[in-house]
Symmetry: C2
Subunit: 157 residues, 2 copies
Amino acid sequence: MDISLFAIFLLACCAAGATGAVFKPGAWYKSLEKPWFTPPDWVFPVAWTSIYLLISFAGARLAVIEGNAYAMAFWAAQAALSTLWTPLFFGLRRIKGALLAMGPLWISVAGCTYTAFALDFWAGLAFVPYLIWVTVAAALNVEMWRLNPDVSPLSTD
Amino acid sequence: MDISLFAIFLLACCAAGATGAVFKPGAWYKSLEKPWFTPPDWVFPVAWTSIYLLISFAGARLAVIEGNAYAMAFWAAQAALSTLWTPLFFGLRRIKGALLAMGPLWISVAGCTYTAFALDFWAGLAFVPYLIWVTVAAALNVEMWRLNPDVSPLSTD
């Protein structure tokens, strides 16, 4: 694995991760009705850190394989969509609006997993925890929307 | 050019562009001291739309070329960093904090331009307006920080 490539993919993940550091859950998130399968708070940073390391490893492996076009396109899409989701949900408290990012994010991660397996077994495997996690995250987002019909987005002026 | 690849890269750009749609400049931005070279407001959406189309075109061309590893890694990094910048600057009003995204963003776009030219002339050329724009954006960010030393970030609770 090329460590410089790994570092650039990790930089993209850090951009996504930074949104979690600056748009914190806080009191608003605590006040939301949550579904029974909501993980405890400490799970989120652990899961995301592991996922960022795994998909940066996968990115660095896939980047040097011929025929990586779709894998690289989906990798870029998931990075941007993942960076978008947190400011929508935690920043603007748009529970429903965040679903508009979550849907394409799920598709991009599924696309990454599928195309990665076709190119390199270990890269494909490295995407599996992310696909599971984003599936849980999508279900959480949908359920929080359903359980909190009266929560209105933050007004910004 | 593979239109599906173009669409996936454009999806990544849409995530970045969505931050501009939901975190609007508004009264706060109007109130900032701005440097003499600040473009009029209408230039921003026109510039970004053109850039998104151009770099999606470049992404789709580069994705199918062997040896695209660094070009693809930088493409992903710029997508995530560009999505991060707007919520930092317009969402949290962290003029200084946004520079921490702008620096790596500039490097990623320079990396894209350099590696793209090495692989494909048209893809490289398609990155030139973005490199110029992000250079102006970085200068704007630095100058706004310098000209508005007393502006404090939005508090979020």
